[in-house]
């Protein structure tokens, strides 16, 4: 029997080795993309405050009358398939709205249009055990109450089946529209198909789905987020006399997430011009995974010149590893959880590219109301990114957390 055990263990090893040596689709090499294609979303490099109102044929005056909306693609995006193909993310989705793509520069000050009647809208949020998800939900509840919308809520607890189930239930309840932040970018297709069959419009918030059809997408430009985080690190290194020779490590997820690959792309673009700078990924999910990974690499690699947390849990873990080990490496981030903002205030993080969850909820609800009122809405609405550093972190905290102050948070008054 010991022989059998040995054979089985050998088989297990062979399986593991086979899996490790199997050649997966090349993950970290997005295709050259200097000229955006016609059907790709176009986002301005630098957010500007436009003075001219939006000019786009047929679109609701709610958008054309507000100078804080800027047209970034007059044709409007019909599909994100080609866009994600650049990052080797398989995508087969469609956007039904034939409006343009807009960029919103107004941050949280999203006025809500008046509903033609009292609508019943379902909002399914992927998860509320993280601050962005929780703020999406809080922001949506407040916005719905403000607009007189009957809001049905589902917290999917990161389970696509639960999210699909909730949407099936809402179809039975006769909702007028659904707003969702998808748990799984492919697994939501069943729910989207069901909604389409039932003639119920759907608007997505945060990372758009990679399968199925939606009416409108509210998202942020993740390439810009990665780029701004990279530029902040580059600026710091240059100002502090770095010879731009060494390794930058960043913490990311161990699986492919559309937001992650796009952020990576933007970040790496910044350092392409430095031939002696290598950008390397370490993966993990929870803060402790990143803590362990970075604690190890910082002990073992003397070539490190900088660090980046691609999302909040990564930044949190890296920040603690740097602090506990007493390392001098500069750290930048994307995401705006409270612990990140506190880290910026305390000088542990140079800065983080942030976005407003409440803003996203209000943009999505506004578009949904307009759609139900029978008006034409944009295909994609980009919510703005803001680079938060020590100079604006307190104001950012108040904005992202509905007026709560960083000082109160740091004093333990949550």
């Amino acid at each position: 029997m010991k022989k059998l055990l040995c054979i089985m263990l050998a088989l297990l090893m062979v399986l593991a080795v086979a899996a490790c040596t199997a050649k997966p689709a090349e993950p970290d090499k997005p295709a050259e993309n200097t000229t955006p294609k016609a059907d790709e979303p176009v986002v301005p490099d630098e957010p500007v405050t436009p003075n001219e109102p939006v000019e786009a044929e047929g679109i609701s005056s709610y958008y054309t009358d507000n100078p804080l909306y800027e047209v970034v693609n007059a044709e409007g995006t019909k599909s994100l398939d080609d866009y994600y193909a650049q990052f080797d993310v398989e995508c087969e989705m469609g956007i039904r709205s034939d409006g343009p793509d807009l960029y919103w520069h107004g941050r949280n000050k999203v006025d809500l249009p008046t509903p033609a009647k009292q609508y019943k809208i379902g909002f399914s949020v992927y998860y509320t055990v993280d601050e962005v998800g929780a703020m999406y939900l809080e922001g949506m509840k407040d916005a719905a109450a403000e607009a007189g919308i009957e809001l049905l809520i589902n917290d999917a607890n990161y389970d696509q089946n639960l999210q699909n189930q909730a949407i099936e239930q809402w179809i039975l309840e006769g909702v007028d529209a659904v707003i969702m932040t998808a748990c799984d970018f492919y697994g939501c297709k069943g729910a989207l198909d069901d909604l389409h069959a039932a003639g119920i419009p759907v608007i997505t918030l945060d990372a758009p789905p990679c399968a199925g059809e939606v009416d409108c997408v509210v998202m942020y430009d993740c390439v810009e987020q990665g780029r701004e985080a990279g530029e902040a690190l580059e600026k710091y290194l240059l100002e502090n006399g770095s010879d731009m020779n060494g390794t930058i490590y960043y913490g990311t997820l161990p699986f492919i997430h559309p937001n992650a690959v796009t952020r990576e792309y933007g970040f790496k673009q910044v350092f392409e011009k430095y031939p002696n700078v290598t950008v390397k990924a370490l993966t993990g999910e929870e803060p402790e995974d990143h803590y362990t990974a970075f604690e190890g690499i910082m002990q073992g690699d003397d070539s490190i010149i900088g660090l980046w947390g691609l999302y909040s849990s990564a930044t949190w873990g890296i920040m603690q590893a740097v602090e506990n080990g007493g390392y001098p490496y500069p750290l930048t981030s994307v995401d705006n959880d409270r612990v990140i903002l506190e880290g910026i205030y305390n000088g542990k993080i140079l800065g983080s590219d942030c976005y407003g969850a409440v803003e996203g909820s209000r943009l999505a609800l506004a578009a949904t109301i307009l759609l139900l009122n029978g008006e034409k809405v944009p295909a994609i609405i980009y919510q703005g990114n803001t680079f938060v550093d020590k100079t604006n972190v307190e104001a950012a905290f108040e904005e992202y957390y509905n007026g709560a102050t960083l000082a109160d948070y740091m004093a333990g008054n949550h």
Binding site: M1, K2, L4, L5, M8, L9, L11, L12, L15, A16, A19, C20, A22, P24, A25, P27, V89, E90, E92, Y127, T128, V129, L137, L152, I153, N154, D155, N157, Y158, D159, Q160, N161, L162, N164, Q165, A166, E168, Q169, L172, E173, D184, F185, Y186, G187, K189, G190, C210, A211, L253, P254, F255, I256
Partner: protein, 332 residues
């Protein structure tokens, strides 16, 4: 003390505890219907069962393993690797007729690996399957470089996930019923189920009685893995894709369903119908709390409380039975 067995009458309290799964099911049905009348809409109920199908099928398998005193934490990873392997093969142009049996054999091999390490290596099932859970998940992630692999075979996804009989009964519900019948038969009407109960009740006695313990354990772990593989096929059909990180809670949900249905963690007792009831309780909680718009925190909390209550009832039933038995023996 002389030990005698005697069929004793069952008190009303004991009877209630005995049928606790049904009671909890009915109570939840009433509560959720009062709070949300749409809860009892037939389509909603059918969708609810569809969503629990893969948990129930995994739970049927784990019932055999737990009954013989074992445990398997790797079910979710087996489901993920099965689904990912199928999607990967389909994406490479392998026909579904070849890919399906291959991935089911792969699931059996994963069960065999678990069994070999547990039986021959004499390593505790908890530790073994904790390790293989990570290994199988790691292989799924490595094979796909963390990517989700979409499935374009509509016939397959319709059959296992999205299709409906008479435009009303979801196919996963029918698959669940099929496995319910098969597992009930194996568990209640064959030597396999009987041997599992004997081994879980007293392994030494089972050995003395001439039961081939090794063989039963091999069969149980492999059968459990096969069912987890089928659950993986349903999951990837529902998702229209092979998702390497899917099913991370599947094993825990399946174990919870089995425990809620009366399967003893210590082994020796269980029931396939009870496990189905446990799965339905989990499904009712998911669907009901979802309809009520409860947040994740509340859902997790409520599920935990229900499981604790079920286990407490189980223990109460056992201790009452033991006390009564002792009293009867003393009278005798």
């Amino acid at each position: 003390m002389e030990i005698k067995t005697r069929k004793s009458g069952m008190g009303f309290g004991q009877f209630l505890i005995k049928i606790r799964t049904i009671l909890i099911l009915v109570a939840l049905l009433i509560i959720f219907t009062i709070l949300k009348p749409k809860f009892v809409n037939p389509t909603n109920l059918m969708n609810m069962i569809k969503r629990m199908s893969y948990v129930a099928i995994t739970a049927f398998g784990i019932t055999f393993v737990m009954t013989l005193g074992g445990l398997d934490l790797s079910g979710g990873s087996i489901a993920a690797l099965t689904g990912v392997s199928l999607a990967y093969m389909l994406s490479k142009g392998v026909s579904i007729g070849i890919a399906l049996p291959v991935v089911l054999v792969l699931a059996l091999i994963m069960g065999l690996i678990n069994a070999v390490i547990i039986v021959e290596g004499k390593i505790a099932p908890f530790l073994t399957t904790l390790a293989t859970m990570n290994i199988y998940r790691g292989i799924a992630l490595t094979l796909t470089a963390g990517r989700t692999v979409s499935i374009k075979a509509k016939g397959f996804t319709d059959f296992f996930g999205n299709g409906k009989l008479f435009d009303f009964i979801p196919i996963p519900v029918l698959i669940t019923v099929f496995f319910l019948v098969v597992c009930w038969f194996l568990y209640s009407r064959t030597k396999l189920g009987y041997y599992c109960r004997c081994i879980g009740g007293n392994e030494e006695a089972a050995k003395v009685a001439g039961i081939n313990i090794r063989r039963v354990k091999y069969i149980a772990y492999m059968f459990n893995a096969l069912l987890a593989g089928f659950a993986g096929l349903i999951l990837c059909s529902l998702m229209n894709a092979g998702v390497p990180d899917i099913g991370s809670d599947l094993s825990m949900d399946a174990i919870s369903a089995a425990v809620l249905g009366g399967t003893a963690i210590s082994g020796g007792a269980g029931s396939i119908i009870g496990t189905l009831g446990g799965g339905l309780i989990m499904a009712e909680l998911n669907a009901g709390l979802s309809l009520l718009g409860a947040q994740s925190h509340v859902q997790i909390l409520v599920k935990g409380i229900v499981i604790i209550l079920a286990v407490l009832m189980d223990n109460a039933l056992k201790s009452r039975t033991q006390v009564k038995q002792i009293k009867l023996n003393q009278i005798k």
